[in-house]
Subunit: 236 residues, 2 copies
DNA sequence: GAAAATTTATTTGTCTTACAATAAAATAAT
DNA sequence: ATTATTTTATTGTAAGACAAATAAATTTTC
């Protein structure tokens, strides 16, 4: 047993009025009394319906807005969002800033999960973009970080849906932010290009397993390079 | 002059005071002035520091609490969370209740993303649990839904980290809730058991590609069955 | 003197009231 | 009829008061 493990008692969640109001309003969605895009009653009406004061109600509404569940417009009113937003996820990740291992892993998990779906769903246009992206990387003599990033972004988006697409950029951004000060060792453009080509061809063949396999090899290679670079930094 | 401008200005996000306060407080983390677990100043102090009224401040704090960024305890104070919570993610999913295709896909994405990591990280204890789980399913003559679910949960958790583990149960719960009224067709226990065994063996061999492959086959099979069941419901 | 009970003080939780800002809708002015 | 102004409903912000919870200090009890 590790000595520094703090006891993990699950934090007792207080049932404040505001929290109860949040539940009630989300319940309107889950019970399908209201649906995405619908207008909520005004604050005055909600106060009476829920028997709470305005500050309490507004605290709840603020929370729901932060979570991307509702949108509020002055004078117009409050509406359930029509699609899930990326804001909550982005903010969740903020807690993990600097946690290199976890950030690398979540990117790995997320991208590996999407590439199989991408093999099923990717469009001809996106395949064309990927092909152009590879050519661009082959030909440039400058820093190809952004091209590399775009390659992965295209694949992730083509494998995503309305639920998962909001997670892509936050994860990539956190990844970049976490690794921005780590100069990768042994960076080999020709190897990167070859691995990108492998992934591309698997996608062209609509082969989820092959796409996963080549993406895994690629990201594992990246992870290994990052690992050794971090190792170096810790020594220095 | 016509005012019917077709220019679509991107949703102007109003900079309410509360929103600005949220940004300021998150900035304390991102700028690493404070870190996870640290205590924030009391509400009174924050009011003075930020020059806002208490309702505004409390709306911001409520939002941050809903996002799992902070925890508040009466009398003790406000603290930055030490780990990311699952609440925001769970609530995000609420917007997609009933969206069968997307819910199935996010489970697919998430679980396929984790199974490769599971092959790298799974413990002997968890492997043992999986083995027992398979035996249990083989032997029972009753409904094995819960056993099936546990099999997948063990794998997902063993591939997760502190960032991704909070997403597992919300996704599985939403999946169950969305499909609870859909009786799956052509359910074959022997086939399920065989597929679970394939996954298990790949994990034992620490073979990420093989684990992905067998999990893909398994979930693809599930997806296909769900698809046909939904099809039937639409016809009836 | 130490343990138990009580009080105190600090901090979060809730309510009430009031007013400001905004923008849609209605009305007046040209 | 179009433009400008006013009205009005709704969200946004503020201030003050009190309640509830609880850690810390204090007093009581043995």
């Amino acid at each position: 047993m590790k000595e520094n493990d703090p006891l993990q008692i699950k934090s007792v969640k207080r049932k404040t009025l505001a929290n109860q109001v949040i539940e009630q309003i989300i319940d309107l969605l889950l019970s399908e009394q209201l649906k995405a895009g619908d207008k909520l009653p005004s604050e005055m009406e909600l106060m009476e319906m829920l028997h709470v004061s305005r500050p309490v109600l507004r605290e709840a509404l603020s929370s729901l807005e932060a979570l991307g569940i509702i949108n509020r417009k002055t004078k117009e009113g409050t509406f359930f969002s029509t699609k899930v937003g990326s804001e909550p996820f982005k903010i969740m990740l903020a807690l993990s800033v600097g946690d290199i291992d976890n950030v690398i892993e979540i990117r790995l998990t997320h991208e590996l999960g999407l590439v199989g779906l991408a093999a099923e769903k990717i469009s001809e246009l996106e395949l064309k973009k990927l092909n152009e992206n590879i050519e661009e990387m082959e030909q440039t003599n400058e820093d190809y970080t952004e091209i590399d990033r775009e390659f992965h972004r295209i694949i992730a988006y083509s494998g995503s849906n309305s639920l998962t697409e909001g997670m892509i950029d936050p994860i990539l951004n956190m990844y970049d932010k976490t690794l921005e000060n780590i100069a990768l060792k042994d960076r080999s453009k020709s190897k990167t290009v070859q691995q990108h080509k492998d992934i591309y061809h698997a996608l062209v063949n609509r082969d989820p397993i092959g796409a996963y396999k080549s993406m895994y090899n690629h990201l594992d290679h990246v992870r290994d390079r990052v690992g050794r670079s971090v190792e170096d930094r810790r020594i220095n």
